[in-house]
Symmetry: C2
């Protein structure tokens, strides 16, 4: 199993600032891995609000069901994340396990179990022994401190090749507030794992409703516009927590997402989501190329999204990119199979700005050597112009390499 | 590039009988390949009917558009198939090329151009020089004979590793009629090719309407239930020709597919479609395992099909099969992402008859060694029981191996 960091890892890792009202701690509970941390506890001061979006899988994990049910309250005091075991497809045991974990965390933090949020990532179908958290979470609650962000991002990794963090600040009223987040992606080296987890924290004083609205809008063009292999996890979880601590230095309390004072914050929040979701694409299993698919001139944005996803999920397009081949014939194929309005004879396609096809045929002016050279870049942009309307969308993915097959097929789980 | 025959190739190749009213001939026209045949001409006696089904791609190839437009007439005198160039995404040139090919064939055979059917497979986006057929088709029309079925099946291959033929007989009235077919599949070694072509011939006297109806019904559970990588070609073409020659020895003329005398024929016809489509799955790119996905207990057959396709197209499921891993967690994932009704806690999953999960959790009684042994077989059956209704469906696919990535990514087109 390769432990090399993805060549697409960002070269600059930000210094992660403190978020007032949030304390973090990690531990090695021995859930599956040896010699590394696998539990994260985040403790929020009283008054923190929470919002979340989850997998659309019809077979969600037990922690996803737990969080969905607790979200209505809009309040959060603790987040417990473990790696190594997804607690998915574990039947009644799985449900009991989430209840026990929340109970242990509630006791450790001194809150109601319903204010505890949970996420698990790792093997599907293995019962998660929640008793392993006993003692561990109490110790973590005592030692939790406002820093440790990189440690936290590392504890939630499964086989990601690098920890994923992002941070931004924004003016809210006259106060400066901070937004920090972490994510784990689809760096699968050990089979059975296919989960995306992300957690965002801010000291801004936002109501749960405002936070939820920002989150729902925000994921549309970020996390929902990233695909590695078209396989949707049972455990995808994105939770956002707002401690409200910035109210102490003058940030106004915001109850609705439509509040005009939220404009700068919303932009910064969106930036953190975009940054983290791009890092997920950059750490796709076996990825050697980051691929940006832009579809424009579609009848609607929804139609553009479907066509972009059809291209981004096509194994033939993805293997061509891996082979540094500007194989626009396969892009045509993927446009055609999407089932969305498209007129073959109006189609134009370019790779990294070099147009290779126009008006439904090969662009007679393109230079094969020039495009071959361009395909060697670590980031490839495929742009498709449909020439039908104003619908535009953008999706991020990565190439499909032999390493992907090796990661997911060579080893028995 | 590997030229080894797929380990999943059928061990028995049938002796292909003559179909009265059909003559075949092949030639090397040098369209792309060197040292092999790349053109097939099939000549039908006057009176032959034709039916066809085509790719649902919104960007179909020029020959697909040609055939669709000619199908209304219901009559066919000639079929011209070339390999090496798909004549897809070739703009006006492509359209002119189909017209010229049909014109050359019509002159050679002595029929109207509108009675000529065309199919092309190979590179997308390269203009097809139809003048290469000049002379070639006239010579083929002269030398065409009723045998040569294996030669015909070979001429239409691109990088298939074996020719695909099937044949059956059935009673129609008191006469015995014959159905023979050939197909080319998705054995892609040279990039840019992704086409499925199949041609079925019979001496039964069927109206074009009856034949079309049989074909439409027949593909539903055969060719439409096979997936290699979820990528739909621009050129998929399945044409059926009925010469009616069996009327001379007493076969009744059939005008409607609902005619009760057609029962045995319909079954045999379906058998030929099933045989050919299974061979396409057996020759999937880089395939080492034939995978049969059965979904039962769904709310409807349509729902079962969607779930079966979600499993069969999941790269994570397919790489697990390649790794001989009974990774039912990934099957759960694929069921969950299909978006169809499913109740996690009623789900059962088995691999080659060994149940590994039941009632939404690991089956406590399954033996890991036993299932590991079973996964070494060249044919893997994944059966998912949803426990919701009576909807059932079956889909064939193959595993996803490093060879697939090598075939499609390692070489520049």
């Amino acid at each position: 199993m390769s432990t090399a960091v993805s060549p697409l890892a960002p070269s600059d890792v930000p210094a992660m600032p403190v978020i007032a009202g949030v304390r973090l701690a990690t531990a090695a509970a021995g859930i599956r891995y040896k010699g590394r941390t696998d539990v994260l506890l985040a403790v929020m001061d009283e008054g923190a609000t929470v919002a979340g979006v989850f997998t659309r899988s019809k077979c969600p994990s037990a922690p996803v069901e737990w969080c969905r049910a607790r979200l209505k309250g809009g309040k959060a005091r603790a987040l417990v994340v473990n790696s190594g075991n997804a607690n998915a497809f574990t039947g009644k045991t799985g449900k009991q396990s989430t209840a026990l974990t929340a109970q242990i965390a509630a006791k450790a933090v001194g809150c109601a179990a319903s204010d505890v949020f949970l996420a698990s990532t790792g093997v599907i179908g293995e019962p998660l022994d929640a008793s392993k958290f006993d003692g561990v979470l109490a110790a973590l609650a005592e030692t939790a401190t406002p820093d440790h962000w990189m440690d936290a991002a590392k504890a939630i990794m499964t086989t990601d090749t690098f920890p994923k963090v992002a941070t931004a600040t924004a003016k809210l009223g006259k106060a400066t507030v901070t937004i920090s987040g972490m994510a784990k992606g689809a760096g699968m080296i050990m089979p059975d794992m296919a989960t995306m987890l992300s957690f965002i924290f801010t000291d801004a004083p936002l109501s749960a409703a405002a936070l939820q609205s920002l989150l729902k809008t925000g994921v549309e063009d970020t996390f929902n516009a990233v695909t590695i292999d078209g396989d949707t996890s049972t455990s995808d979880t994105l939770l956002a927590f707002a401690t409200g601590a910035a109210a102490a230095h003058g940030a106004p309390r915001i109850s609705r997402a439509s509040d005009p004072r939220l404009k700068a914050f919303a932009k910064a929040f969106q930036g953190v989501l975009a940054d983290l979701s791009e890092q997920v694409a950059r750490d796709g299993e076996g990825a050697r190329k980051l691929v940006e698919v832009i579809v424009e001139g579609a009848t609607t944005k929804t139609s553009a999204r479907k066509i972009a996803m059809s291209i981004a999920n096509s194994p033939l397009v993805k293997t061509a990119i891996a082979g540094e081949d500007a194989n626009w014939g396969r892009v045509v194929m993927a446009v055609g199979k999407a089932g969305e309005p498209a007129n073959r004879d109006k189609l134009s396609i370019s790779f990294n700005g070099i147009r290779v096809a126009k008006s439904g045929a090969r662009d007679p002016s393109y230079n094969e050597n020039e495009v071959s050279e361009a395909m060697k870049a670590p980031k490839i942009q495929i742009k498709v112009a449909l020439g039908l309307g104003k619908g535009r969308d953008r999706v991020l993915t990565c190439d499909l390499t032999k390493e992907y097959v090796a990661i997911n097929g060579d080893y028995r789980s």
